[in-house]
Amino acid sequence: MIAFTAILKRDIILGLRQGGGAGAALAFMLSVLVLIPLALGPDQNLLRRLAPGIMWLALLLAVLLTSERIFQLDYEDGTLDALVGISLPLELVTLAKALAHWLAVGLPLAIIAPLLGILINIDTTALPILMLSMILGSLSLSLLASIGGAITAGLRRGGLLVALLILPLYVPVLVFGVSATSAETGPTGSFSSLLVQVAITMVSLVVQPWASAAALRAYFR
């Protein structure tokens, strides 16, 4: 347990202080938000309708872009070699690192993103639901990103491969995340979408440690 929290703490600190971590992800999100109204035109009604989906896409891409960092740097400087040898099972090591990624990148973005949505005229009554579904969804996004990060840990240019491997798995998260906030479904519809999101998060919580650890073991044989 001590080892688990130590890894968690170390990765959160690294994620917050190192360049290209949470701060860069937030700046990336902002720049996506600037580009969207320029690409779609400044029509306020159109933007209001699309706002939840746009915020979800921005969150998803920001998490995806930081997914390489979960394991690659540690693989290159040899930290992972040390982590494979400790008494904590490798499964839990990967879980700690995925959770740290969520706490350092996914969670802050999920909390800030709905507020940034004001820039694209988001419906403010939907904000609490959007925030809730994004907090839930970002956890599964981070867990799934860790699988992709582990598979490509040893690849120098694994960015495109991570996207190809992980985006298919992001589809359900995105679909139910957006449907929780879309106006057509109403309050009951958004509740059932949130329940499905909980289910997706649970499943990824079970699959992630096994898959990430198995992928890392392929590098240390």
């Binding site: 699988i147 598979i151 490509t152 040893g154 690849l155 694994g158 491969l161 190809l164 491997l165 985006l167 298919p168 798995l169 589809v171 359900p172 499943v203 699959v207 898959a211 198995a214 992928a215 073991r217 392929a218 590098y219 044989r221």
Partner: protein, 240 residues
């Protein structure tokens, strides 16, 4: 399955089975295509476009079946260290991707006159598209690594994680009641298709499955040979 663990034994059996399989595939296709094109009625609503289904349905279900086979082979490689399982999964992937592509394209061609659009983001179409991406991702992992052993162990994980999508594709038409029609062959209360169309469809199923088995065996043989060549090269490099 353990009989095939020895590659030489596998080659013996495969070489004997190959000619029979090819002849069976050819005969099945000739018969099935005859029935599909000339000896089955046009649908009273869809007209002649119903014949697209004879290609669409078998290739769609094979796309699913091949992925399951790939995942099972990956699991066998992981659990039993079966020497041919990784090769079988690797050889199956491009074939599955081809069937998936065929299903998507024929569906589009049918969708244009029937639904009035080439593509809709309906649950079945979307999940089938995701299946295509999973196939591409799996093949990309095999290509991304120089070391085949490392590629094999990482590709297994990709195949096994992606299998989550299979029940979603299968049941998407029942869970979300969107544009694509629900299952009409295997369902409670028997098939909803008339016998005059069901029989040619069954024959096409047979023909497509035989085609997959034959091409998969060829690809598997090539994969084993490629490994042998690699091993020989490494050996001769070690000697010199």
């Amino acid at each position: 399955m353990q009989i095939f663990a020895n590659p030489n034994r596998f080659f013996q059996i495969a070489d004997r089975a190959m000619p029979v399989l090819w002849v069976a595939t050819l005969v099945a296709f000739v018969v099935a295509l005859y029935f599909a094109f000339f000896n089955s009625p046009a649908d009273y609503q869809q007209g002649e476009t119903v014949r697209i289904m004879y290609v669409h349905v078998p290739s769609a279900s094979l796309a699913l079946f091949v992925y399951v086979l790939m995942a099972v082979a990956s699991a066998m490689a992981l659990i039993f260290r079966h020497p041919l399982a990784d090769a079988a999964a690797k050889a199956a992937a491009p074939l599955g991707a081809a069937f998936c592509f065929l299903a998507l394209v024929t569906g589009s061609i049918w969708g244009k006159p029937m639904w009035g659009t080439w593509w809709v983001w309906d649950a079945r179409l979307t999940s089938m598209f995701v299946l295509m991406l999973l196939y591409l991702g799996y093949m990309a992992v095999w290509r991304a690594f120089d070391d085949p052993h490392r590629a094999a162990s990482l590709a297994r994980i990709v195949a096994l994680v992606g299998v989550i999508n299979i029940p979603i594709v299968k049941f998407s038409v029942n869970w979300w009641n969107t544009l694509h029609q629900p299952a009409s062959i295997v369902r409670a209360g028997g098939p909803a298709i008339d016998k005059s169309i069901l029989w040619p469809l069954g024959m096409m199923f047979m023909a497509f499955t035989l085609l997959f088995i034959s091409t998969h065996l060829v690809a598997l043989k090539n994969e084993v040979r490629a490994r042998k060549i690699r091993a020989e090269k490494l050996k001769s490099m070690g000697n010199s």
